[in-house]
Symmetry: C2
Subunit: 136 residues, 2 copies
Amino acid sequence: MSDLLERLRGRGWRMTAQRRVVAEVLDGDHVHLTADEVHARAAARLPEISRATVYNTLGELVSLGEVIEVATDGRAKRYDPNAHRPHQHLVCSGCGTVRDVHPHGDPLADLPDAERFGFTVSQAEVTYRGLCPACA
Amino acid sequence: MSDLLERLRGRGWRMTAQRRVVAEVLDGDHVHLTADEVHARAAARLPEISRATVYNTLGELVSLGEVIEVATDGRAKRYDPNAHRPHQHLVCSGCGTVRDVHPHGDPLADLPDAERFGFTVSQAEVTYRGLCPACA
DNA sequence: TCCTACGATAGACAGAGTCCAAGTCAAGAA
DNA sequence: TTCTTGACTTGGACTCTGTCTATCGTAGGA
Ligand SMILES: [Mn+2]
Ligand SMILES: [Mn+2]
Ligand SMILES: [Zn+2]
Ligand SMILES: [Zn+2]
């Protein structure tokens, strides 16, 4: 994730300990943390980081296209650092685990013109639901 | 929607003015109201109906399978009386308008086994996003 | 008409997120 | 290295969405 820090520096970001630790917490595959989870993990490394700063930093990362927001349930949004490879999500109805998945085909192609109501449709988000091995 | 009221009566529902007006507000096509919108429209007909009753009634309708909950954004859930015909949603990124759509094909079939991580996948929800004619 | 269990109500409470005024500090200037 | 300053951080108040509870009211059967 140091490449992310490099990109951010290149964009003129002032590099603070808070921003660094938030970026570090978001490193990895299949990472889909809530803002409060990010805050908890960040606070383990930097105890006095505030919730407001976590929200600010996450919002900035989303604006820059480095992180995407995922709303899989009616609860807290999740923050996903896998922003450069398009993908969909598979969610366990039991425990809430989220995995990145890459379905075949283009879901946009399955929506006939007659079903577009004159909209300019630009994106299709697919959420698959089921039970993970542990919950089944 | 009087057929809905009939079904509810058949299920042993005590028929109150509040429940009747909530059911009436949910009548129509492409209806995707938030709980507060339902409350506002219900209160126009029955001024003293409470928020708690609206939430209770919506929750009961969802349990009975007469209404589905739709979470198109990270904000308030929307309540959809079109529960008997499976469909997906097309959402305007500008104004938030939601339309019911019926894509071709089965999105489940597009998810390869290798991308299922051992899950028992049972459902796929698709949200199409774009701009409606008015917002474009 | 009367009873009573089921439903409605107001308001307290909780979770998620936003906003603000005041204090702090990263990083360029000298 | 030290100075300066505007960008960043902070705690807490506030908003929005939703849940819960104690109390009151009433639909519908006896
Ligand atoms: Mn993801
Ligand atoms: Mn719908
Ligand atoms: Zn699970
Ligand atoms: Zn629109």
